[in-house]
């Protein structure tokens, strides 16, 4: 496998599919078994943020998720919606703001909770936003990259 692409309408029911695909592919990408749960959760939070941003923007763009196992395991979540241009930590702030306003009822946790989970579980976390939408990139090393204590392929 090099690259697997998934695209789905921005509806909550499909986030589960993205999670399942992520775990299935991560297993094949020699990611350590004990972090499969973390990948499952991080992908769910990234997709949830994308949905929240779209809902707030009243944008019906689909959500695209690319999975790449060529260097560890990388997941990139992308979607439309016009956002201020930013990269890195500033882009994560833009995403948090854009998703937060969507939380109209007081039951929603601040988007900061989703980002806190992402920051904890994704060793690589990068973001960019622009008038074309948002891109969240999550990455995990392969077991073989962890050194002598990691299992090798």
């Amino acid at each position: 496998m090099a690259l697997v692409e998934l695209s789905f309408p921005a509806r909550p029911v499909h986030v589960r599919t993205a999670r399942q695909v992520a775990v299935s592919l991560a297993r094949r990408a020699q990611v350590a078994d004990e972090i499969l749960d973390e990948i499952r959760l991080a992908v769910a939070e990234a997709c949830g943020l994308a949905l929240a941003v779209l809902r707030q923007a009243r944008d019906d763009s689909p959500v695209a998720v690319d999975f790449d196992d060529s260097d560890g395991f990388t997941v990139e979540v992308r979607t439309g919606a016009v956002l201020p241009a930013a990269t890195g930590a500033a882009a994560l702030d833009v995403v948090a703001d854009a998703a937060k306003v969507a939380a109209e009822d007081d039951e929603q946790l601040p988007a900061g909770a989703a980002l806190a989970v992402l920051a904890e579980f994704a060793p690589v976390l990068d973001a960019s936003t622009s008038a074309q939408g948002l891109r969240l990139r999550l990455g995990w090393p392969a077991v073989a990259d962890l050194g002598p204590t990691g299992r090798t392929a």
């Binding site: 029911v13 589960r16 769910a44 997709c47 039951e107 946790l109 904890e120």
Partner: protein, 113 residues
């Protein structure tokens, strides 16, 4: 796996047993159940999460909303959770300070406020 919910009375408290996944898709079902209980005047609630296989921040949001609602009426919302991977999510988001979390239902029922 979907989310299935069942509720029963135990020692004057309502125990809601959640089985399956609480995510962005199924969380509204839990919210609905909690709202119905509060509307029916059942204000002391225990959510038994021992058989929850997955919980995301949307699910956390619904639990926080439920806690707010029962608290407004002088009630309580306690959690039963034993799985480390789920407890970790509560810790990361600072919610272990907000919820009373127990290792089993009997202890949650018997606990003093």
């Amino acid at each position: 796996m979907d989310l299935s919910l069942s509720s029963r009375l135990d020692g004057g408290r309502t125990v809601v047993e959640a089985v399956g996944e609480i995510d962005v898709y199924t969380a509204p079902k839990l919210r609905e159940q909690l709202t119905e209980l509060v509307d029916a005047g059942r204000l002391d609630i225990i959510v038994d999460m021992k058989k929850v296989e997955f919980l995301d921040s949307t699910g956390l949001g619904v639990l926080v909303g439920g806690l707010k609602r029962v608290s407004q009426h002088g009630g309580s919302l306690r959690l039963v959770c034993t799985q480390e991977r789920i407890l970790k999510i509560f810790r990361i988001t600072g919610l272990t300070k907000v919820f009373a979390i127990y290792g089993d239902v009997a202890t949650a029922v018997a606990a003093d406020d």
